[in-house]
Symmetry: C2
Subunit: 403 residues, 2 copies
């Protein structure tokens, strides 16, 4: 099992394309992406738990009822959410893909990302679709670019692994930089695989995976209205279809986790305005839920995130976050260390501060990836949450998003 080059087109039988069709004003920014499976595929998705749900999610959910899909279409620049005609527009997007790719309209996964509450004009999409379909190729990069909004880097990854002696692949692209505090899925993640797996087992695999991956990252504590992770599996690698739990399912889940873990790190590190990736590991919690709550509270604290931006070893703010996390924890047994490529340092033992070198701490916190290691004395459960620092640039980006 290893990471390989490529993204959604790494698995056999998947093509993709990305173009600028005119939703975004800046002509150098692609704004429409398409991924097509050349063969029938099972499919599954997880969605935001925000009560305000983007219209595309409603349409996708409906289309995935039969557990199959052939294409994913996604525009950036407009979320198609809180609009009177949102459903109608999302359905038109599916119909256009069906027309130009010669597939059924209910085999289309549709997604949108961008500003909420502004009507999405179908015209540029309708005019762009012929070109988009014509440009479908085994190069997944343009699609990875077309789903970006405030992202500064495209996020793609592929892994290969074996099932029944057959070489299988899972590929993925993701976007997400602000409004990132997923609850069920993340901003937008599109995965493809040439493994054969039933829709039911595919749903089970991603539903279990997101609990420890996308649901454990946060850029700003805002759960988006349009979060969705979707996956298509077209079986082209030739393995015996996975239809139940067992060794093959475990292998598939492990490969899936290699992909999602990588995309999570990329999303957190590319958080709006971020200069640093924060990873908070919690060990020794009474329950998994307690471990998750604590890890997430620390990477979500604006005060702690600001301190990390300033490479300031203000560990008391992490203790404060543990205290209000809602987790069941004995504060008098908390140990806390910071670690990075520059080394590691102990700051707190048994809930009280220990003397440390400010100079050493500064050096450790000046790296690009910071680990916050919390050891509790309450049990055996652990969890990791990922986030980023809070910077001037985050405020700048979001003080002026629509302009």
């Amino acid at each position: 099992m290893k990471k390989i080059n490529g993204g959604v087109t790494a698995p056999q039988g998947f093509k993709a394309a990305g173009i600028h069709c005119g939703i975004r004003k800046n002509k150098t920014k692609k704004d429409l992406a398409l991924i097509l499976s050349e063969y029938p595929a099972t499919a599954a998705a997880v969605y935001t738990q925000n009560l305000v749900k983007g219209a595309p999610l409603t349409v996708t959910k409906n289309n995935l009822q039969n557990g199959t899909a052939r294409a994913m279409i996604c525009n950036s620049g407009n979320a198609n959410t809180c609009n009177a005609n949102g459903i109608e527009i999302a359905e038109k997007m599916c119909a256009l893909v069906a027309e130009y790719c010669a597939i059924a309209a209910d085999d289309v996964i549709v997604a949108s990302t961008g500003v909420i509450g502004e009507p999405l004009d179908i015209t540029p999409i309708a005019e762009g679709l012929p070109k988009l379909a014509a440009e479908l190729s085994y190069d997944g990069e343009p699609a990875a670019e077309a789903i970006m909004t405030t992202d500064t880097v495209k996020k793609e990854i592929a892994v290969e692994f074996e099932l029944d002696g057959k070489l299988c692949k899972i590929g993925g692209i993701a976007k997400g930089s602000g409004m990132i505090h997923p609850n069920m899925a993340t901003m937008l993640v599109f995965l493809t695989t040439d493994a054969a797996i039933s829709a039911e087992m595919l749903q089970k695999a991603i539903s279990e995976d997101v609990k420890d991956t996308f649901n454990m990252i946060s850029v700003d504590g805002d759960t988006s209205t349009n979060d969705m992770l979707s996956i298509m599996a077209n079986g082209q690698c030739g393995n015996a279809e996975i239809v139940a739990e067992g060794e093959a399912f475990d292998t598939f889940k492990k490969a899936l986790n290699l992909v999602t873990d990588d995309l999570c790190r990329k999303i957190a590190a590319d958080g709006e305005g971020a200069t640093k990736l924060l990873e908070c590991e919690v060990h020794g919690a009474a329950t998994k839920d307690d471990a998750r709550k604590i890890a997430k509270a620390v990477v979500c604290s604006s005060l702690f995130k600001s301190a990390m931006f300033g490479a300031d070893a203000n560990w008391g703010r992490a203790l404060c976050a543990i205290g209000y996390s809602g987790a069941n924890v004995d504060i008098n047994k908390v140990d806390l260390d910071f670690a990075s490529a520059a080394g590691s340092i102990a700051l707190c033992r048994d809930g009280a501060g220990v003397p440390f070198s400010e100079e050493e701490a500064k050096k450790i916190l000046s790296e690009k990836e910071i680990n916050i290691i919390i050891k509790l004395g309450d049990g055996e459960a652990s969890a990791i949450a990922r986030g980023c620092d809070l910077t001037y640039k985050y405020v700048k980006i979001n003080g002026d998003y629509r302009s």
Copy 2:
């Protein structure tokens, strides 16, 4: 019932003082405050719900078990929290006040605010106490100054009202600028009154009041370890002691709310780095709890706060926050308006955007106080939450707090 000049010394029989004793390095910053009731007083307090509780809170809680207090002492510059000897230091602070003010040590309310996890040296406090006691006067301002940390303005208020034909007063001071997301009380609020009211009814009055006042403000979503609101009532105005619910209790609560409401606005407007006060009013919610959740989610959203900093009418972010607030709400019935001294503007009706003038919106959002008015179609409950915008300066202040 009206607001009058002054703070904690406005009610009869209260003296106060504030000095620089040497906890803070900057000698121009006062760091030790004392409030003394010249007469026996009933007392009550509410505390943070953070599991990590400052040592002074534990000591205060213990001292208030008998429902009486005569003095409040508070230092800034160090929170005396997550230290091995915290309780011992807080008890010494009470003993020093007892010694120099000739009262019982268990009649002292003690509080600390500042950095978490650094041992608090008792020496400057012990050396400063004689001076602090000698400077006690009917001027409440030095005490209001001495509890400030990153606050840019001192926060004090007094009101007068009648009980049994007697002129009563309630006065208060507060501090709080960052780590403000109170859960039970706020950062630090010290109230005094010359009304006669039993400790039990005093506790009831403040416990009910904070639900709609201090528990509904947020600067950064971080619930402090040292939040406390405390009040002393010395009965010097001569009313018949309030020992049960009824007209006098209602009048007292109304006067109390005038004080707390004012201090809440002052704290939210003086949030770290803030340029604007945000007030989110929610009407038509199914329950009070739903209204509170929604109002608070909106003023807590980093994305929405950043948009307000940029005077950007990105109302979709408020809708997004409503959706993840956890409140039970019919999104298709949501109306949203922005209002300020410059006018008001409709942005959303029945959950969908309506056309609006960007120029007009910019003008309205460029004021210092912004109202976000949300009307739901779910019932009759309403709530107000207060916060502030998220600015470069917040990040700057907190990237480098300890230095």
